[in-house]
Symmetry: C2
Subunit: 381 residues, 2 copies
């Protein structure tokens, strides 16, 4: 096991009717900025519940945070925050609203342009305190300090790290009206968040392996039910809890991490606008196949414990396991070839060139450079 | 899934050499009270590492916290804390030292007798901040707000809840010289902490079930290696992490809990001085057998997933699963019958009478009263 430090002070408030509890979580004297996406929270009653809970708080609203939130939108929110002198932010929506809010809250304490904080992490010092009401299980943003921010001018998408939400409200009822494609992307996102912290080296932590496998098994078990339209409270609650636990540090204690699939996926979103979870489902089978030799032991453990696949021929077993993984994403309703998703060979060339310029060496062994990335992309073309 | 609130702000600092990091965790201007047990930390170098790390801090030492820490000893520590005006406490030792420190830190902010805080939870308001260096994987006290305190005068043992450690240092190297009996009790304690949060109702949270089973499987896997004397860093690190994760709230989100075995076990410690983890190993097979009908579904799930035991006859399967569980505790080197541990029928009568007077109705279904407790104790006699 590697040495590690674990710390996660976010208060999770989980279950039906929990939105009403936010009034007790935000001091009454705070000036609250509410951040929202495009308006779906108005159709599913979340907006009403939030405003009712905060009826005695002073609130300002910022609307219009888009999927893959952009620095262009965030700049406007920061202007509003500073003008209103808001000293608490409540993000209400999916991972995009939460991610944007992390940068808004950080930029609220910074005098320059918010994009500086993305490009130069050392500039980050502190954040305006914030909480979240998450309505889409996927990114895990509700219980970590990470965000991914896009720049519309440069077609770039970068990670940004600030601080944890003070609290996050998870009410599974809020997910009942999500479109099937969002659900599919959320399931894939959750699954692959776990894979990035798991499919690396064997024997680093038997316990973390079991916990990672526990989330994977749970997602495999509930996905077909949810896919078939069975959006019962219990299934959606399990999905929501799984998504949060997949990326809050609970399964990464003392183990190596990968994240190559994510970094490649971000480029597909930045260049082609493909939804984040979907990009991961496209890329992962390629990452697994191209890196199967260095990841072989863990691929075999994963295949045996999650899919019950074993074979005396490791190469053959790995092939079957990777196929099974790809089939799982297909079963969610996702098209998992680049060519099926409007990505051409030119895009592969651009990504390769970007990775070469950034001198990327990704993955737990730092082996994923521009050349390997091209191989991965060609494999899933 | 039941509604829940999860919150755990303890910073875990895990791995070889981590004790050196405590100096950065305690502000330099704090007056630190160091709390210790009987002196084993002097023979295994932990004491030296702590004092070296805090060489620039102002420190006072309190020695002599006993296993099953008593209010009598705690009173003396609180006197010292108040006299020295200490404003940070660092507990160094096993679960007993940590448990005692929780009450010392709470009593440091209370004007009356510390035992008041145990008997009347509503009196608790706040604690002197504290951190821990844990040297014995077992109680999970390093990452929760619970403690168990004994009263030597009344032969009573009660739970007490205050606040979380600011940080806990877990260096598996510190466990290398632990006696085999302590290791056995720690493994049993960890296993049964999980059981109390797991062996209740089925279907409440598939994910929490997987995580609980993940800890159980890990303990079952490493126990024989550790028992055979293989105290490698990796095995002890896995044991240490498992013990912490077994009782920090991570596996109890949204699920029912039991704790009857614990409450009965506490009486065996209070009346007969048997080590806590050992009392649990004695009682659990009795709890499982006497409550097998109400717990049947979960017993079958546990038996199948942990021990690979299945049978078309539920009663027969339950019998085999309970026997296997008892055999596991025996394999740790523990004698698991009351009569083998110096407990007579009179003790059973005393416990029954205490439970009757306290009007206990324990377990997830509140079905464990004085009569059922007597049945459990007679079964394991």
């Amino acid at each position: 096991m590697n040495n590690f430090v674990f710390y996660n002070p976010t208060r999770l408030i989980f279950g039906k009717g929990s939105i009403s509890k936010i009034s007790g979580e935000i001091p009454r004297d705070k000036k609250v900025l509410l951040t929202f996406g495009g308006g779906s929270v108005k159709s599913n009653d979340v907006y009403n519940q939030v405003r009712y809970a905060l009826k005695d708080h002073s609130c300002t609203e910022f609307w219009g945070i888009e999927p893959n939130p952009t620095i262009q939108t965030i700049r406007k929110a920061v202007e509003l925050l500073k003008r209103e002198k808001s000293d608490f932010i409540l993000a209400v929506g999916g991972g995009s609203v939460l991610d944007a809010t992390k940068l808004i809250s950080a930029a609220g304490m910074y005098i320059g342009d918010p994009w500086d904080l993305v490009l130069h992490p050392a500039l980050y010092k502190e954040s305006v305190p914030y909480g979240t009401v998450i309505t889409l299980p996927a990114t895990g943003s509700e219980m970590n300090k990470g965000a991914v921010i896009s720049n519309r001018d440069t077609h770039e998408k970068f990670s940004f790290y600030s601080t944890y939400p003070k609290f996050s409200v998870l009410d599974p009822v809020t997910t009942s009206s999500l479109p099937p494609y969002q659900i599919a992307c959320g399931l894939a996102d959750t699954f692959i968040h776990v894979i990035e912290q798991y499919l690396t080296k064997t024997g680093e932590s038997p316990l973390m392996d079991r916990w990672a496998e526990g989330i994977l098994s749970t997602i495999v078990e509930i996905a077909p039910k949810i896919r078939e339209g069975e959006r019962s409270y219990e299934y959606m609650a399990t999905f929501m809890l799984s998504a949060t636990m997949a990326l809050n540090g609970f399964i990464s204690m003392g183990v190596s991490q990968d994240w190559a699939t994510h970094l490649i996926g971000h480029e597909l979103t930045a260049l082609k606008g493909i939804t984040h979870g979907h990009t991961l489902a496209i890329i992962l089978p390629g990452t697994m196949w191209v890196l199967r030799h260095e990841k072989m032991e863990k691929i075999l453990q994963y295949g045996k414990r999650i899919w019950n696949i074993e074979d005396r021929d490791n190469e053959k077993a790995a092939g079957m396991i990777i196929q099974k993984t790809a089939d799982f994403f297909t079963s969610l309703g996702l098209k998992i070839r680049l060519s099926e998703n409007g990505v051409d060979r030119e895009t592969i060339r651009v990504i390769k060139e970007r990775f070469r310029k950034r001198d990327y060496h990704l993955g737990e062994n730092r082996s994923v450079d521009a050349e390997i990335t091209e191989q991965i992309l060609n494999y899933v073309y």
